[in-house]
């Protein structure tokens, strides 16, 4: 039976899958980080809200919210640090060749 929690988790899994496909399809480290941006935000958000609904109204919801808050603060910092390190070490971004 399709309930709210399973629906939310499946929507989250869809976005996580899209992000994984994006990491494979996109050409370089800079553009791949954009695909990871989807996991950061929508993927984790839907999966964790789904888990919260599955749990019911308990103290675990507060912890899930704190996890979400931590992820939303940490993920941008991680992408930024990775890409800055790449750029400073001479990795040039992939650019579409003009035809």
């Amino acid at each position: 039976m399709l309930t709210v929690d399973t629906l939310l988790i499946f929507i989250g899994l869809f976005f996580l899958t899209v992000a994984a496909i994006g990491v494979i399809r996109l050409p370089d480290v800079f553009s791949r980080s954009h695909a990871l941006g989807i996991t950061d935000t929508l993927g984790n958000f839907f999966v964790l809200t789904g888990v919260a609904f599955y749990q019911g109204l308990t103290l675990a919801d507060v912890k899930i919210f704190l996890i979400l808050l931590a992820l939303w603060h940490l993920n941008p910092v991680i992408s930024h640090a990775t890409l800055r390190a790449a750029l400073r070490n001479g990795v040039r971004p992939w650019i579409k060749e003009k035809k």
């Binding site: 899209v18 941006g37 930024h80 650019i95 579409k96």
Partner: protein, 160 residues
């Protein structure tokens, strides 16, 4: 550090402890209280930030707007990834900003990175270097709507 901030820190950490442990008996409460007080006491370094206090109320109003932006651009990136032609046009964008305060620039950089399609690569107090994945993301960036919103958060209405 003044005793007032010490007490406030202790109360905040103790509240977090109660939320995380979920146990209300004397043993766990006393351990939590002493732990919170110890951590608050160890962290007595004065803050070295020369920044005005955060306008918390307006910051909270900014967050739903940011969330909606994130959802919109996430869907855009999802569409691009699933498109067989992969219509991307990555570029580096130089983004000068005159927000002034460091806190505001940090919030801007973090918001830009949180929004899929744009990632802040280099940041200084007056300029950001941003990698944008496709035309729509860079157009969104060039419209500077995000910077305007943050300027509204950090300045009173008369100034902006």
């Amino acid at each position: 550090m003044s005793p007032r901030t010490l007490i406030l820190k202790t109360i905040g950490l103790f509240g977090l402890w109660i939320l995380l442990s979920g146990k209300l008996d004397a043993f766990h409460l006393s351990i939590g209280f002493f732990g919170a007080a110890l951590i608050a006491w160890i962290n007595t370094e004065p803050q070295h930030l020369d920044e005005p206090p955060l306008p918390l109320a307006r910051l909270v109003l900014y967050l739903p707007w940011l969330f909606w932006e994130v959802v919109k651009s996430s869907l855009n990136i999802t569409k691009i990834i699933l498109d067989p032609k992969l219509p991307i046009n990555p570029r580096l964008v130089q983004y000068p900003t005159n927000l002034g305060s460091n806190t505001a620039v940090v919030l801007l950089g973090n918001s830009i990175t949180l929004t899929p399609g744009t990632v802040t690569i280099e940041v200084s107090s007056s300029k950001l270097v941003i990698h944008a994945l496709d035309d729509e993301s860079s157009n969104e960036l060039e419209s500077r709507s995000m910077e305007q919103k943050i300027a509204e958060v950090f300045h009173s209405r008369g100034q902006t």
